[in-house]
Subunit: 324 residues, 2 copies
Amino acid sequence: MRFVLGIDIGGTNLVVGSVAEDGSSIVATASEPTQAEAGTKDVLERLVGLAERTIAATRRESPDAEILGVGVGAPGPLDTRRGIVLLTPNLGWVNLPLRQIIHDRLGLAAALDNDANCAVLGEWWVGAARGARQAIGITIGTGIGGGLILDGKLYHGASDVAGEIGHTTIDTEGRRCKCGNYGCLEAYASGPNIALRAVEEIEAGAVSRLPSLVNGDLRRITAQTVYQAAQDGDELALEVVNDTAKFLGVGIGNLLNVFNPEVVVVCGGVTAAGDHLFVPLRREVARRAFKPAVAACRIVPGALAGTAGVYGAAKAFLDQTARA
Amino acid sequence: MRFVLGIDIGGTNLVVGSVAEDGSSIVATASEPTQAEAGTKDVLERLVGLAERTIAATRRESPDAEILGVGVGAPGPLDTRRGIVLLTPNLGWVNLPLRQIIHDRLGLAAALDNDANCAVLGEWWVGAARGARQAIGITIGTGIGGGLILDGKLYHGASDVAGEIGHTTIDTEGRRCKCGNYGCLEAYASGPNIALRAVEEIEAGAVSRLPSLVNGDLRRITAQTVYQAAQDGDELALEVVNDTAKFLGVGIGNLLNVFNPEVVVVCGGVTAAGDHLFVPLRREVARRAFKPAVAACRIVPGALAGTAGVYGAAKAFLDQTARA
């Protein structure tokens, strides 16, 4: 059997998986915390270790396994053509020739793509967007990223920057974003900003059981705390989730009017909010976007929690190899 | 020589041109006011008349001319595959099989596409976006439309709705738009809304020479009046143009972060404002979008004023024929 190694480099975790060439399964996987503060060399060393362990586990599972190569999904901006990570604020990497490093260390052909692109490519290959000609993925975590499948192909744009959905303005004079801009979607609906909006309301006097879930230490409120409280019926948490749905609805409505996709896949911890999120989100999109665009499009949670990036990195390798 | 007829059906004017197959020139052209209020039958009759006169003029110019077919650009939404205009509020057409009608009346093969798509396709074929792999066009008139050239091809989306840039939200709680939504780019930066913002300021007491340009009848202020006053140094008009640039900058900045195009072409009367518009527009985009996306992209006025739609309709015919 033939496999491709998929590597998903996140700010929080490094994940490696051995993906069957047809996308049918992941036969071996390994992961550990990224710990970027340990430095580039240390992170790369441990990443190579994870990959070697995954290769060994693959051969144990399937003694005649052939490993075709390795796809790497990394935060950007990147130069995918040259295989270079230009800059990753969270990891502190600058102009890192990651594709070459992985190739040299593992002795395998390698490909590099953006982490959000890989997540979307994974969902499109074997997950919630399977079979769509036009698909958009939004990854919601510490930041908000995205990727576009257009006419059945991952779309990179003129200089690999396409898909930065989190940094589209939904409110010209709105909240300040980490990127320096005002009113970006990410400034409202990323994990930390979902938590922040809840904390702001509590500090302004809103009644909620959220403080009791974190022993009164508001800094410990995360988006997950908010979803949990919402599931338990907490009114403030429900309001924060509902507002999140509206903000995402504005951003996704814009994408429907510009791209007219068949499916929008929402990935990340935010999907834990379930119908509390998706019902008002779909309603907001329907209110804002054109009817034919709304009628053409499903808006669904990702189907590959935790592995979309690994599947997608493997698929990115297969696609880049096929093109080359 | 071989020609394709290009037809541009606008809310204000019907324009027909005979386009050389290689896009090098328009050898004959004819146009007249649309006068939609005269009814569908009357408009179609006059449109066929214009086409016949253009064909006759082409044969006079070039006695051995071969007319390959006719491309029609019409307001949408459309079903391009079936050649049907689904609905055009400005013209009052519903489910009109326009491609078949034109084919039957002229005895020529015909193709149909969205008017904004045609304008962008024209600018990409022989105008300001020539040669770009990724290009976005924005047409600013009574409304704001748009079209996308992605990986060297006009992009239609899942159901022909792609490119509705005018109906992307730039302010969640913003101005009411004709489409029913709030805060659409069009609600700020279409021709009528540029004029409306100036009138609102005058009614609120702003000093301006604009009223004197329309003999005190504020209803007669159009976007063109505003550009003219801005060129003459009127402060209110300059402020309105500057605000227009900022609103367009937000919308175009969003497109840069999502599409990462090589060029954005701005078409329509608004380009008459020249540097008063383009300088602050480019500044706003640079302030909002990611540096690599800004660095990759030119933002330029259209080069084919009045004929982009005709060139593009002809090109749409050639492309649809090549695919069939």
